[in-house]
């Protein structure tokens, strides 16, 4: 430990202002503060400060993502061997290793590109490096289809960090969840590559899929009117889909950690699910309408809890909607914000089959409206204060 500290302390003078390597200042500071909590003490205001800082907060979110990541790796292998028809002969470690080797590069690309840009901006602005990307950098791979080309991951990450975050002033100032900006960017910029059924399952050049393979996700199937997935498979996650979103169980593990530590907002999680359920029930009620095509009617009448276990609904509710920066910030606002995300996600999915992944768009739209919701909540608060002041006076 002392050895590492000495390295940082010895190199510190060389990155100070005016020194030769000042352009590495943010880089040095970023790693130094990661290894060692700085020795800065309080100069004004309270003399003691809570031990919690942004590093720990973000660290816990990353930890909460680990179950989804690990399961995602396993599932990538599972879907691959299933598709080539060799599932019976492949063991657990074959599946996991295959997935690990497929997923790891995506994670690395996301972190290297994203952190690289973050470091550069921190250096330019003379700020400390913000920990926000530690989470975004993990979220981005988890919401990508496994066959997304790495260069696309890199472009999307760069777009998300620069236009989703840095142009607004960095972490804490952004309007949209940066990871979803990355996903939306790919969705709209490369629709040909990012939709269809071929991106969800990893296949090598020489692999051939077994007969009858479609590679379609339950979400895409449902949009076409085929509700034929097993709810148990969808809950445990043995279905095709984006890397980290398939297993509702793994996501729930993360949710438990976020709620216990108080870092993710349980209000948003619960209200999002409630919104999804309510919209599902409304669609069920209208499923008998004669105006609907048979496919649409089938999707309309899908049991509501199915919506919670397929696609990105659970992942979005737990990890995306709860991003404290882009979500509503007032207590009441959080309930409204989450509820509307749930409503819109299910509505988009079912009523507009051109966008099967309604969750992404629902969250981005509600990110946009979150300040408006807060504005009205704060206005209500002010009105109440004024009224009370009048009574007192």
């Amino acid at each position: 430990m002392k050895f590492i500290k000495d390295i940082f302390l010895k190199t510190q003078p060389h990155v100070q202002k005016g020194a030769k390597f000042h352009w590495l200042h943010s880089f040095h500071d970023g790693f130094f503060t990661m290894f060692f909590v700085p020795k800065n003490t309080s100069k004004s205001g309270t003399h003691i400060h809570d031990y919690i800082d942004l590093k720990r907060t973000m660290g816990i979110v990353v930890l909460a993502l680990v179950p989804s990541l690990l399961f995602g790796m396993y599932n990538v292998g599972l879907q691959h061997y299933k598709t080539i028809g060799e599932l019976a002969t492949a063991g657990f470690f074959d599946l996991f290793l295959y997935g690990l080797l497929k997923v790891l590069p995506v994670v690395i690309v996301s972190y290297v590109v994203g952190l690289g840009i973050e470091f550069a901006f921190a250096q330019m602005r003379g700020h400390e490096i913000n920990e926000g990307f530690l989470v975004s950098g993990m979220l981005i791979p988890l919401i990508m289809p496994i066959e997304t080309p790495l260069w696309m991951v890199a472009v999307a990450t760069a777009f998300a960090v620069i236009f989703g975050k840095e142009v607004f002033g960095g972490t804490g100032m952004n309007i949209w969840n940066p990871a979803l900006v990355a996903r939306a960017f790919l969705f709209f910029a490369y629709p040909a590559q990012m939709s269809g059924n071929s991106v969800w399952v990893a296949l090598g050049k020489n692999d051939t899929a077994i007969d009858g393979f479609t590679g379609a996700t339950p979400l895409a199937d449902a949009a076409a009117g085929n509700i034929n997935f097993s709810v148990a498979d969808a809950f445990f996650g043995f279905i095709p889909g984006s890397i980290g979103e398939t297993s509702t169980l793994a996501i729930l593990l993360g949710a438990v950690l976020l709620i216990i530590t108080g870092i993710g907002s349980w209000k948003i999680m619960i209200s999002t699910v409630a919104g999804g359920v309510v919209m599902g029930v409304i669609l069920n009620i209208f499923s008998g309408s004669a105006a609907l095509s048979p496919e649409a009617a089938a999707y309309f009448s899908m049991p509501v809890w199915h919506h919670l276990v397929i696609g990105g609904f659970a992942f979005g509710a737990v990890f995306m909607a709860t991003d404290p920066v882009s979500a509503a910030q007032t207590g009441k606002g959080k309930w409204i914000y989450g509820f509307l995300i749930g409503i819109l996600a299910v509505l988009f999915r079912v009523v507009n089959p051109a966008y099967p992944e309604g969750m992404m768009l629902a969250i981005l739209i509600m990110n946009t409206f979150a300040p408006l919701i807060d504005h009205y909540v704060v206005q209500g608060h002010i009105k109440r204060r004024m009224k009370r002041a009048k009574i007192a006076a």
Binding site: K5, K39, T41, T46, I382
Partner: protein, 448 residues
Amino acid sequence: MSKVIKLRKGLNIKLKGSAEPVLETLSLPATVALKPTDFPGLTPKLSVKPGDVVKAGDALFYNKYHPEVVFTAPWGGKVASVNRGERRRILEVVVETDANAGSAEFKKGKPESLSAEEIKEQLLKSGLWPFIKRRPYGILASPDEKPRAIFISTFDTAPLAPDYNFIMEGQLGSFQTGIDALAKLADGKVVLGIGEKSVFGNIKNAEISQFSGPHPAGNVGVQIHHIAPIGKGDVVWTVQPQDVLFIGKLFETGKVDFSKVFALTGSEVEKPKYFQTILGAPVSLITDGRLKKAGYKQRIISGNVLTGTRVKPENYLGFYDSQVTVIPEGDDYEFFGWAKPGVEKFSASKAFFSKLFPKKEYVLNANLHGGERAFVLSDQYEKVVPMDLLPVFLLKAVLSNDIDKMEQLGIYEVIEEDLALCEYVCTSKIKVQDILRTGINTMIKELG
């Protein structure tokens, strides 16, 4: 008892080193001093020069814009020096004490038999007026204003705070006299906030409200908010319990008596307990020889760990403080500190294993435990502010210098101590108290 108010939000920070209920009387210090810097917004003008001889209760300096508001010597003797800082700002007016100096003479008499004007004049002349603070803004009360009411919190919930039940032992009579005097100034409207077990329950001539709950339930600002909130154009005054004693003794004896009890607390103190000395005593009088010998730096605070002022042994105790706290400075690097399980790390969040041991007392140091960031987490502040208030939005209004919004969001109701816990819990290490004072200063400048 009229009301019992239960507060849920807030946070008790359990520090090691609370004072045992033992009182030691200290000998007269060689010097005492008043510090104009203890009074926010004051422009002091000197009434004395070094070499002058004063009695206790003789003016040392006065408020330039309200010359009738004078600040008097806590003990008589020779004015030793006027210590100045940058741009010749007066920092300390030091008096070399003389055991036989005596006190200036004031009127003696029951407050009931005096008029409000007489009481006001007596408080102004004797230098007790500055113990009355005014809300909004937490600044010196102006003699021209008439308050809606005077609020006194008789208990302190801040970390390691002194117990006024103990300090008041045998002095409740003087306290009652002080309340009687204050009641005259506010047409009988004096409001006492008392804690759960309180010796102040039988005080007369005042409305009594009982409060329970974690810190900041003992803050007078929080109590005002729940009894009768401050709106625009409203003025209330606040006084602290030991300062009520000064007022009571003045009317009982016709002399000033600035004897004051301080609690010496904190994990770095050998035997934390109470000390009787006088207002303006040097810090070293209380701390010398009573701190643990340590191989690391220690931080001495006049006041509590949330709102106190960092002092050195050669400085003097704060005018409004009743407590000295000593904690480790904590200026070391910590290897992967943010990633450790944190059994030893008290936190308001639930992100450390210390949460599993709710009864434990902790040694906390002055380290920031992280770097300063933009606002990221959203509902941390609300959880520690038991008021109908949106602290983050109020602070953002201050940062954007939006006077209307500051007013609407309740800047009249809070001073630094009321939002100090926000600064403690903040993940982003935002300087809440500094920001709030900037906002208050803006309000004073723009609206007067």
